[in-house]
């Protein structure tokens, strides 16, 4: 078999991370929107993500697991550089994850505390993820400018998750909460637009590799389709945030923006797994290990896709009550 397994696993890892970002992104976005809602609305918001968050988070384990097992050398470098933001993210995810259960089962001020920790965990995890992305794109360069850039990306990712969370709520809720969610989605979209614009300007400045890839006429002309499509998706999303438009459209628009941004990012980085330092072929595991995992993935992934679709079908429609009620 002449399949380039390093490329196959790079694609698999990328898809896992994209799946994680979109799926847990809406969870985290909903978590960050909690303070803006009333207690009854908060229960509905948590109920809209309750059956899914755990499986959504599993994509992170798969993505990071693939980095670990398919590109072990890169795993050491990347996670070594990102040690503290990773720890911050993990603490955020832990607090958020257990808060699902505790906020319902605790009573009095304990319940309040876990509501707050649900928000805080979501926010901390989102900010840390964006920060890590910022550090990653610039190849972990040191300097005030690079750190500020990472913070900027962190803030943008928070905005992006708020957009996903809000459009998810448009899809899954109705009435007053849905009305609010549309307004939140507009703010999220503006935030994302600002973030994407700043990041697009800053990235070529921060990374020579990225600059060379994008500003190379005449290829640049073809590449401009990507930002153009993103702009179109953003405008379509903005227009879909009206009551008379089908409720699935805003979420679909938000997902489209993520897929496009992901493609742009993948194009910027490939074939590096650590920017400017290590390609996927330098970092890949032994063929025997990759082949063993490859066949496992080929056999198992369709099943995962199947029962994931099943779970989403079971819980389709509008949420009308709190969890366990």
């Amino acid at each position: 078999m002449n399949l380039d397994l390093a490329v196959v696993f790079a694609v698999l890892m990328g898809v896992s991370i994209l799946a994680y970002v979109v799926l847990d992104g809406y969870d985290l976005g909903v978590g960050m929107l909690m303070p803006a809602a009333t207690p009854t609305e908060q229960d509905l918001m948590v109920a809209s993500i309750g059956p899914f968050w755990d499986a959504n988070e599993t994509w992170l384990v798969l993505g990071i697991g693939l980095l670990l097992v398919a590109f072990p050398r890169a795993h050491g470098v990347v996670l070594g550089e990102l040690y503290l933001p990773v720890a911050a993210m993990l603490i955020g995810l832990m607090l958020r994850g257990v808060a699902f259960e505790f906020r319902i089962k605790a009573e009095g001020w304990h319940a309040e505390l876990w509501n707050w920790l649900f928000w805080f965990g979501s926010f901390l995890a989102s900010l840390a993820q964006g920060f890590m992305l910022g550090r990653y794109i610039t190849g972990f360069e040191d300097g005030v400018g690079y750190w500020l850039f990472a913070l900027l990306v962190g803030a943008s990712v928070c905005g992006g998750y708020v957009l996903l969370g809000a459009t998810w709520l448009v899809l899954r809720t109705e009435g007053e909460l849905q009305h609010k969610a549309r307004a939140w989605a507009r703010w999220g979209l503006l935030w994302v637009a600002l973030g994407v614009a700043l990041v697009s300007l800053a990235t070529p400045l921060a990374s020579e590799t990225v600059r060379d890839k994008w500003f190379d006429f005449p290829r640049t002309l073809g590449l401009m389709l990507l930002p153009a499509a993103s702009l179109a998706a953003g405008m379509w999303l903005w227009r879909s945030l009206r009551p008379e438009v089908a409720d699935w459209q805003p979420f679909a628009g938000a997902v489209a923006i993520y897929v496009l941004a992901f493609l742009g990012l993948a194009y910027s980085i490939f074939p590096y797994v650590v920017v400017d330092r290590m390609t996927i072929w330098d970092a890949a595991s032994h063929d025997s290990a990759l082949r063993f995992m490859f066949w496992g993935a080929v056999i198992v992934l369709p099943f995962i896709a199947g029962y994931t679709v099943f779970a989403y079908r079971v819980f389709r429609g509008k949420v009308r009550g709190a969890l366990y009620k």
Binding site: G50, P51, F52, D54, A55, E57, T58, L60, V61, L62, I64, G65, L66, L68, V69, A70, P72, R73, H75, G76, L79, G80, Y83, L84, V86, A87, A88, L90, I91, M94, L95, G97, V98, F100, E101, F102, K105, A106, E107, H110, W114, S285, H286, S288, A289, F292, M293, G296, A297, V300, L301, I304, Y307, T308, F310, A311, V314, F315, L323, Y324
Partner: protein, 438 residues
């Protein structure tokens, strides 16, 4: 900071994380099968008390499962950050086993968990039962893969060395390595016992507050009966596991038994204070020729002492005490479960018995932790026996970063564990709520 300190910090952090993590799977693997049983009983009897029972215990399950998931994610990162040498050298074997765990177990349990917890009124009964079974299958499969990897680290076979890296020669040999069947059975039974005693203990707690609670009576009985069956099987399997360890990791057994020098007819040390400096046991209470008899079934057989393995041998104290703690609790479980099963047949249990079961609620956790400390510390100084030393696998994370993250983890775990106990005892004290059908 010198290398020894960095190693100690990395080990402390990882050890703390993995010890915190194992509490929850060890409960949920067993509890998942109890849920299947509760769900099936409801399906057959349509007794509202069984439904209430099921609904109470899926909440306990969900809470414990969430604790396990989030601390497990931390581990998936720490494998690489704390032990990059591990992945560099044996990543081609460890990696695929972990990947199979994610692909075959994590997605399965996480996805069907949603349907199990919140989907009872949305899917037909058979599909809901199927989802409950899938969650149980997922948790057990997860144990299968992670124990295959751990057992391979204890007794590695089936690999070849290519350019300093290990790659699998035969995956079947790697997975079904010599200690795997015993360790897997031992852990599954440990989980069954942990869940049984947690169910019995929390139900007893409820009965102390509300005598006559129908649901708590059912679950107390279920927990006690399962424990009464599993406890002797566990002791039998544990013995086989010990004999297997004697064959493959004799230094571990020497440390467990406190045998410092190779000797014929070694005594069984019931209790002592191991003295690492003088390499002997102080204040020992021994049964002459006992160890030789137990381990070799021959009073005059020779047992290899720690002196044969110097300097590559584990520290004695954690193994010596850990093993006795585990066995002591195991014997206590057997006695309590059998007495409880006998007493429950004769009618309502006395309060003293309920209090005893309540006191044993988390006995499974203590025994499981003690057992894991024995087996993991017993592998030292190796990370992978004979292949890779723990000291050679540690990463280059600075002490300040390790210290800062360690502080963060300790605070987070403390908060989570505290909240877990508060909520669990509160839920158990309130008991199952039987819904009156209108």
């Amino acid at each position: 900071m010198d290398a020894a300190e960095a190693l100690l910090l990395a080990r402390t952090q990882f050890g703390l994380n993995i010890a915190f993590h194992i509490l929850f799977p060890s409960l949920t693997i067993g509890l998942a099968w109890f849920l299947v049983y509760f769900r099936l009983r409801y399906e057959r009897t349509h007794d509202a008390a069984w439904l209430a029972t099921y609904k109470l215990w899926i909440k306990v399950f969900a809470l414990s499962f969430a604790m396990g998931v989030v601390s497990g994610i931390v581990m998936s990162f720490q494998f690489g950050t704390n032990w990059p040498g591990f992945m560099n050298r044996v990543g081609n074997i460890a990696g695929p086993l972990l990947a199979y765990e994610v692909l075959t177990a994590f997605f399965l349990e996480a996805t069907f968990l949603g349907v199990m917890l919140f989907g009872m009124n949305r899917v037909p009964g058979w599909l809901h039962i199927f989802s409950t079974v899938m969650v149980a299958v997922g948790t057990s499969l997860s144990a299968f893969w992670i124990l295959a990897l751990n057992s391979w680290m204890q007794t590695p076979v089936g690999h070849v060395v290519v350019d300093g890296q290990l790659i699998a020669g035969d995956w079947i040999e790697v997975i079904f390595n010599p200690s795997f069947p015993y360790r897997f059975m031992h852990m599954m039974l440990a989980s069954g016992l942990t869940a049984s005693f947690a169910i019995a203990g929390l139900s007893a707690w409820r009965l102390l507050k509300a005598p006559g609670d129908a649901s708590a009576m059912k679950t107390l009985r279920a927990g006690v009966l399962v424990a009464a069956v599993l406890a002797p099987v566990q002791i039998f399997i544990g013995d086989l596991h010990g004999l297997n360890t004697l064959q493959h990791q004799p230094a571990k057994i020497a440390a467990i038994e406190g045998i410092w020098k190779t000797e014929k007819g070694a005594p069984l040390v019931l209790f002592a204070v191991p003295n690492e400096q003088q390499r002997r046991n102080d204040y020992a209470i021994e049964i002459p020729k006992g160890a030789a008899l137990v381990l070799k079934h021959d009073a005059d057989a020779e047992l290899r002492g720690l002196d044969e393995f110097e300097p590559d041998r584990p520290p004695v104290a954690p193994l010596f005490y850990g093993f006795r703690l585990m066995v002591g609790i195991g014997m206590g479980m057997l006695a309590l479960a059998w007495f409880g099963a006998w007493r429950l047949r004769r009618g309502a249990p006395p309060r003293a018995l309920l209090w005893t079961f309540a006191a044993f609620t988390f006995s499974g956790w203590i025994a499981t932790l003690a057992g894991w400390i024995v087996t993991e510390v017993g592998r030292q100084p190796w990370l992978v026996t004979g292949v890779l030393r723990t000291a050679d696998a540690v990463g280059h994370i600075s002490g300040a970063q390790l210290g800062a993250s360690l502080t963060g983890y300790v605070l987070t775990y403390s908060l989570m564990l505290l909240a877990y106990f508060v909520v669990l005892t509160h839920m158990a004290g309130k008991g199952a709520v039987t819904e009156v059908r209108k």
